[in-house]
Symmetry: C2
Subunit: 163 residues, 2 copies
Amino acid sequence: MSETATATTSPSTQDSCGGTPHREAWLALARAHAAITGRMQEALTAAGLPPLAWFEVLATLAEAPEEKLKMGDLAEALVITRGGLTKLVDRLIKAGLLERTFCETDRRVSYATLLPAGVELMEEMRPVVSAELDVAFAANLSEGEADDLRETLERLRGSACEV
Amino acid sequence: MSETATATTSPSTQDSCGGTPHREAWLALARAHAAITGRMQEALTAAGLPPLAWFEVLATLAEAPEEKLKMGDLAEALVITRGGLTKLVDRLIKAGLLERTFCETDRRVSYATLLPAGVELMEEMRPVVSAELDVAFAANLSEGEADDLRETLERLRGSACEV
DNA sequence: CAGAAATACTTGAGCTAGCAACTATTGTCA
DNA sequence: TGACAATAGTTGCTAGCTCAAGTATTTCTG
């Protein structure tokens, strides 16, 4: 409900720069995301390490209780589809970083479970990722600003997830 | 310089939640981006419209002088590789939305140039995109907050782009 | 001015993610 | 209980992106 007026037929909406006021903020968000992601990927490749997506899987599992997570929950945390996650996890399993374990009480669910080699690789990747984040964040943002940013972005995401 | 302590071998670094302080902000940014992008894509698909990437191309060109842009500049604005852009533009050309024009003084460069049909489609897509952005932004952020966010993100991107 | 280096873009191969269809298991209710 | 709906996950297909190599053109240099 409360669909914001879309004014399809009136081109006279006062656009200062060709977009709605929010579009500028959105563009900044998309560009910041792409730029930082690109830098992290580049740094990992240069260090001969696996892609960022692998780190996100490993780091997410490392923070989870028992270092394991249901496939569905992991997909949600990473904001990718279940189909995509199945294949991503397959690759990490083939690399010996994860294993698939199953639930006794509900045989539909399977868990992605971190293996020691996965922890090890994560520790190896972490400093590279952290360094790039620090370049982007610490260089130009105070601690408080970074936290405000996080808080604002979480609200943003929250409203985007409401049905 | 000033590489923040990476402490690869000491797991005792006081992590409140498994990551550096900036990691939290980064996760929020990545998730907000994915969530909002996903919603926009979904809305466009539901409306029988082309993907978001098409809109970004059209909107970027619409804001450019003469409604055209060098391939290289367009790729940079969209934060994708040149190879990727060539094919993206090919698709839009095939759809009759753009045309490729050439530079008289430097025959290496080619321009992606907006056609009337492209403007028309952009106008059709814009309200759908704007509506989703408003759901995310206007719903939970004040005008000032959105602008602060944009400013912060631009600084973030700036530092990520420095060589 | 010739040849080397740099620039702008395109092309081909490979990888990854999303979508939709499918299997397997569990929950619901008549 | 037995059929039907809902849930969890996987798989085939396809679109789109990146990377590296290739072509064309321009600029730099001796």
